[in-house]
């Protein structure tokens, strides 16, 4: 009896909580509301930003670099998605994926540190910058971008992008929120369709596969996981290829916006030439850094690839969007990969 009463009490409590914030996302079928709160995919709860509305938090194996921002990722889907042959998920209409960009913070600004993932953001010790949504509607995936106010009380729709001045561990830089069209710069990786699609919420990227199955995000189909490029146990080649696949291949693939360059950095790339070995630049401009080939085996100082990754000049740097500062660890990995290559270009 006592036990039953306790259960009843918990039930009542839950119901009460639910009546304050209905525990279901609000799917906007046509237009985008002016505030993030109106989606109920994440919400503020006792000083934390947490999942809500049935969204499931997830981490990826090989994250994209975005100016050392940490990322809090969620996915909500009405039905578990089947895994397609390329590892992508066939999410139904009604799916909402979110990614919140944030930094640990102290009195001097934001702090550069390893993104350890997690299911919530403690707002007392972190600064949230923006939350991006990918919304699966009838017509396809739509990008929606919300920028947080400094008080971290509200994120408002910002279609034209924004510049947020930040100081990262003593270094001032301009954090750039992309405009709505620029979302397609990465998320429309096939120029024949120019259709947007998720890049992180795909089966090979999910770090916790069983959680995604148990939570009803995806079906338990087979797939090959993408390597974590930060994992020192893996071979240099596997790590470098995974890094390039995540950070470059949304454009540098055989049908992507950067197929104009002849450089293919996707995991499916086979030949050394398309991967850049002794490949002359096509339209690199200042991106050559004075170098003649994308990759000169054994010579990271003489390779265009590592030069452009280390550059912060908008006219020279790669990727073109999504960062204002260089990813030291990523540059180091690719330099090490190039340094270990045998042969030369003559």
């Amino acid at each position: 009896m006592k036990r039953l009463a306790l259960i009843a009490a918990i039930g009542a409590f839950r119901l009460a909580a639910c009546s304050q914030a209905p525990d279901k996302i609000i799917f906007h079928e046509v237009s985008n509301p002016l505030t993030l709160a109106e989606w109920n995919v994440v919400s503020l709860d006792r000083g934390h930003l947490v999942t809500s509305g049935g969204s499931v938090a997830y981490d990826v194996s090989a994250p994209l670099f975005t100016d050392y921002a940490h990322k809090f990722r969620t996915v909500y889907t009405p039905d578990a998605a089947p895994i397609l042959a390329d590892g992508s998920l066939d999410f139904p209409v009604g799916t909402v994926i979110s990614k919140t960009f944030y930094y640990p913070e102290n009195a001097d600004g934001v702090v550069r540190s390893e993104d350890s993932g997690g299911d919530a953001i403690n707002l007392a010790t972190h600064r949230v910058i923006e939350t991006r949504l990918l919304v699966r509607r009838d017509s396809g995936w739509d990008p929606v971008s919300y920028v947080w106010n400094e008080g971290e009380t509200e994120a408002r729709l910002k279609r034209t992008g924004a510049v947020v001045p930040l100081t990262l561990s003593g270094m001032p830089f301009a954090y750039v929120v992309p405009n709505e069209n620029q979302c397609a710069g990465c998320h429309a990786s096939d120029m024949s369709t120019k259709a947007l699609h998720p890049l992180g919420a795909i089966a090979p990227q999910f770090r916790d596969r069983s959680k995604m199955v148990v939570e009803g995000v995806m079906r338990p189909d087979a797939f090959t996981a993408q390597a974590d490029y930060r994992d020192d146990e893996l071979s240099l080649d596997v790590r470098a290829r995974s890094y390039l696949a995540t950070n470059c291949a949304h454009c540098h693939n055989p049908v992507g916006p950067a197929d104009t360059s002849g450089l293919d950095l996707s995991l499916s790339a086979q030949s050394d030439l398309v991967l850049g070995r002794c490949k002359p630049p096509i339209a690199a401009g200042s991106g050559t850094g004075g170098h003649t080939f994308s990759i000169v085996p054994g010579d990271p100082d003489g390779s265009i690839l590592s030069y452009r990754m280390a550059s912060t000049d908008p006219g020279a740097m790669m990727p073109e969007l999504g960062r204002s500062i260089a990813h030291d660890e990523g540059v180091a990995l690719i330099r090490e990969w190039i340094a270990a290559m045998d042969g030369d270009c003559s």
Binding site: R159, T160, G161, V163, A174, V176, N179, E180, N181, Q182, A184, G185, M191, K194, P257, D259, T260, G262, D272, L273, V274, R277, C278, K279, P280, P281, I282, A283, A284, G285, S286, G287, T288, G289, G290, H291, T292, F293, I304, D313, P314, G315, A316, M317, E320, L321, S324, C345, S346
Partner: protein, 397 residues
Amino acid sequence: MRKYLIVGTALCLAACSQAEPEAITDTAYQDTLQLALLDAQPGDVITIPAGTHSLDRGLSLTAEGVTIRGEGMDQSILSFKGQIAGAEGLLITGDNVVLENFAVEDAKGDAIKINDTDGVTIRGVRVEWTGEAKTENGAYGLYPVQTTNVLIEGVVAIGASDAGIYVGQSKGVIVRNSRAERNVAGIEIENTQDADVYGNVATDNTGGILVFNMPGLTQPGARVRVYDNDVYENDRGNFGHPGTPVASIPAGSGVVVNSHDDVEIFENRIRDNRTANIIIASVYSSNFADSSFSDTFDPYPDRIHVHSNTLSGGGHKPDGMELKAAKTVKFGLTGRFPHVLWDGFVRGEDDPMICIEEPEAEVFNADLANGSKNMRVETEPHRCTLPRLAEVTLKDG
């Protein structure tokens, strides 16, 4: 008191007007314009009012059938002097876009890039890097790539550290009645099929008009006509980024064909380009001789038809030690190269059909294939003719 204060303000204004103008971003206009680009529907005309609008991030348009129109290339100016993000000033990825009567200045990367679209019209647009022509300038002025049905007319391109007007990997292209100056390459047609380049002025570039075929791309170039252009005094020292294909262009190059097949160069007025008025070469004499080529890449220029041009001057002061030495050895200190310079690379015994139907023009074979052991004036083998290429017609958008 108040009077003194006013005097003080007047002094400050006078002083400020002498200082270098700061690029203060017009964030309100930037938001307005980018929002218009986001909301654009087919058939919309987005207008850029007169004035200089300072922007700090690249603009982008994905919608199709949109016109962006200013009040004139010297009136409606988008200035990217203070740009902090974006690899170009304006990126277009929608089909059937018309750009007309405005200017893009001082973009950090390329000025206007159009990627993978069908139907591009650029008319009366100016792309410019103001101030000195220098290596730090952005790479391409107008940059349609993997596009089809491209019309560029009445544009002006100045100061690009690569090419002022560059059309790459495209099909069905007309570039006409435009002006390119103070770029490394004035007009460059690369890996493009069916292009007509006519009625243009290319002067004061490193190279005037280039027709290039690069290795490692999905589409080889084919059928390019260069005619009725004025190509003169393209003598500017090469300020391209080392490593880029154009960085190997000698200063003083008029019309240059590299590794490209089926090019017809006729009825142009080409004069006073100090290395040579016309250069025909293989990738083997560029700075990419050591590159890995795919098996399908054809490095030799074939079927190049030069006829009915007005050629004069030039060839007297070639760029680079090797060319200088070759000129002096063969033609003396005061002599000059013939109008046509050929690097001499051939595919075995095949006749490459480099036909120079110019009674006044000789051909200098630099014999680079054999380490220039037998450099020679060799005109007779080039006295041949080829069928005329067809006019390019664009599909209506």
